[in-house]
Subunit: 421 residues, 2 copies
């Protein structure tokens, strides 16, 4: 009897009808002979509604109390789901993060899991019950307080339980059929990826693919958990995210997928004295704002001026704080000016096969050139190439690149039938 962890997001349990549908799926898995642990998010917009209530009271609610408030959301969905499953004649018990042994550090709103002690979950399984666990929440032993894991927290809860319980697979249910070679809304010829390595998935997620959260994929990779991203609206196989062992042969396409991201802005520090330590000084200031820096490019300085330009990208929402911090240090650092550009788009091609294939960059740049798309920044990792373009050209860029690397499916209509998007 294998153990399967199933994670359902808020849209899968948005109302009584949805909860009943999810309950049926869980019961089917149980009746197929599997042990089942379910991780569930808060219903639909519950979390946003609770946040709205808090904001009506105070501009910046205390973290401890905000976590106490928000964790009510999963408490509701998990209890309802357990009732629905029991209503179908299968025993089920719901557990809070704390009861399920999700132990975290004390950082409210963005806690990290430090330990998983799922004794009660294991016990419920041993007694033949389905265990329903609240996603997104944990417990800190030092303070005795409830914590939340931040964005994508429920995915992380599911992966952490799968690792601790030695699950065969961690199924992440979503409203799409799996991970696609590009966003199907932009690239109609995008195809569902059947198997992808967690390394590639990480790069795609970092590059803007929304279907899985980076943290959950990282956790899965570190603990060797196999993920199965699939639709909650049908029984089709989705995308397996696997962790091939060292030396294990996996068929690696040169390029697995293309992702784009319109959520970033670019800041350019103009006229930085080209002397050692200036970049370190700038990024120490930036780090002080807790901004999430993505790509960094430094221009070659011209001998005549001895000045360089340093550009970096970061989430649009972090830009103002960084500009404020850098402006305050302008005299100290000695740069000329700052430029802020929030009309950029990022495109990344990801593929583990890239490692052993020269010419990927050349093909990418050629495709963009032929489409008349200008490249403003370039950054590469072992299995990824990212470029920054104008925001309004990034969708066209995704289509031409997807096509140039031979990712287009032959029969578009067949693939997109019944994806439930």
């Amino acid at each position: 009897m294998s153990l399967i962890v199933q994670k359902f997001g808020g849209s899968s349990v948005a109302d009584a009808e949805s909860i009943k549908r999810v309950a049926k799926r869980i019961v089917a898995t149980r009746q197929a002979g599997h042990e089942v642990v379910v991780v569930v998010s808060a219903m639909g917009d519950t979390t946003d509604e609770l946040l709205e209530l808090a904001n009506q009271l105070v501009p910046a609610p205390a973290g401890r109390e905000l976590d106490m408030l928000l964790t009510a959301g999963e408490r509701i969905s998990m209890a309802l789901l357990a009732m629905a499953i029991k209503g179908l004649g299968v025993d089920a018990r719901s557990y809070t993060g704390s009861q399920a042994g999700i132990i975290t550090d004390p950082q409210h709103g963005a806690a990290r899991i430090t330990e998983v002690t799922p004794g009660r979950v294991r016990e419920a399984l041993d007694q033949g019950a389905v265990a329903i666990v609240a996603g997104f929440q944990g417990f800190n032993r030092g303070t005795g307080d409830i914590t939340t894991l931040g964005r994508g927290g429920s995915d992380t809860t599911a992966v952490a339980l799968a690792a601790a319980l030695g699950a065969e697979v961690c199924e992440i249910y979503t409203d799409v059929d799996g991970v696609y070679s590009a966003d199907p809304r932009v690239v109609p010829s995008a195809r569902k990826i059947d198997v992808i390595t967690s390394e590639e998935m990480l790069e795609l997620a970092s590059a803007g693919a929304k279907v899985l959260y980076i943290r959950a994929v990282e956790y899965a990779r570190r603990h060797g958990v196999t993920l199965h991203v699939r639709s909650s609206f049908n029984n089709n196989d989705g995308t397996l995210v696997v962790n091939p062992k060292e030396g294990e042969t996996v068929e690696e396409p040169i390029i697995t997928g293309v992702a784009t991201d319109l959520s970033e802005a670019k800041i350019t520090v103009v006229g930085v004295p080209d002397i050692p330590g200036k970049a370190a000084q700038i990024f120490t200031i930036v780090a002080g704002t807790n901004a999430n820096i993505d790509m960094i490019v430094q221009n070659v300085s011209t001998a005549s001026t001895g000045l360089a330009d340093i550009s970096f990208t970061l989430p649009k929402s972090d830009a103002q704080a960084v500009i404020t911090a850098l402006t305050a240090s302008q005299a100290d650092v000695g740069f000329d000016s700052l430029q802020h550009d929030d009309q950029i788009g990022k495109l990344a091609v990801v593929g583990a096969g890239m490692r052993t294939n020269a010419g990927v960059s050349a093909k990418l740049f050629t495709a963009l050139f032929e489409a008349g798309i200008n490249i403003e920044m370039i950054s590469t990792s072992e299995i990824r190439i990212s470029v920054v373009t104008r925001a309004d050209t990034v969708n066209e860029a995704m289509r031409v690149v997807h096509s140039a690397f031979g990712l287009d499916v032959d029969e578009v209509a067949v693939v997109h039938a019944g994806t439930g998007r």
Copy 2:
């Protein structure tokens, strides 16, 4: 520095504005130099809405899961209240029933408090913070599960914490100014009672007065907790519910108040053989349905028939189960028939001074007779006399009895100004 427990019901925290108002009152109490523990119910209709969701899924939700679901309600209100208090510059921390040490037996939906270990609450107070505790909920050690205390549970939580922490007073905030000598909606000349003994309060609550729950009053009496029932809409003194020690002199009016109850039905078992053990047999059957029997009257049997009639009152909602159980045993018990009457009203006069005053019954019966109101059943305790009349005469009965015992206020207008009803 004295410790005060303040309990706010769902209507006092129904929306953001109400929560802010309650927060201001708590902060004022704290700033007056008191240690403050607050017990709070779920916001407005939250509990009913959660129940409705559960009923959309299954007709009879599992108790464990229902408790898990419903306890989300106080989690929301307590976290919001703590945020609002912190927003006013006073430290506050919210605690679930479990965190506050409300230990109960394992009976879901109607758990009884077996122990209170408020270590974390005490610690918060020692650090100068206001402690906000979720009402209505507890924790069972044996199962490790969350429980709820049933109707009036938040009042009971407040009293239990007041007892465990040695509070000076447990303030129960409500939408009326205190306990009245009769329901002011029916008897305009009713007056607010300034001081009442917990014994009298118990009798009034049992007789239908809605302002306090019997369980909470019982707990307060057993542990010597002083209650202060007062309005959350003004700063007027309300009603003190006190526990005079043995031999302590308290000014005891002969009659403290009058209460009525229209929620009961009467069942008459007609033609019961007048032989020993028949009453025991009948009430063993009735007890098997868990019905809450209130008054019991047995007619004298006539020598000619050797048959007696036994009547009893019980909540209307319990009547059908009792009729079913008795009908199934009709041959065994040997009675003739059952009569079911749900058009009865109960009136009770309560007063500790009754103990030392003859003539109370006579004055009561005379007043009712003069008003042309027929008495169908009578039951007495040491400090209470209850009568059953027709449902449609019970309000008139309350008015004439209230007047007959001299309870009417002289200037009605003054008393009722600003009661916030």
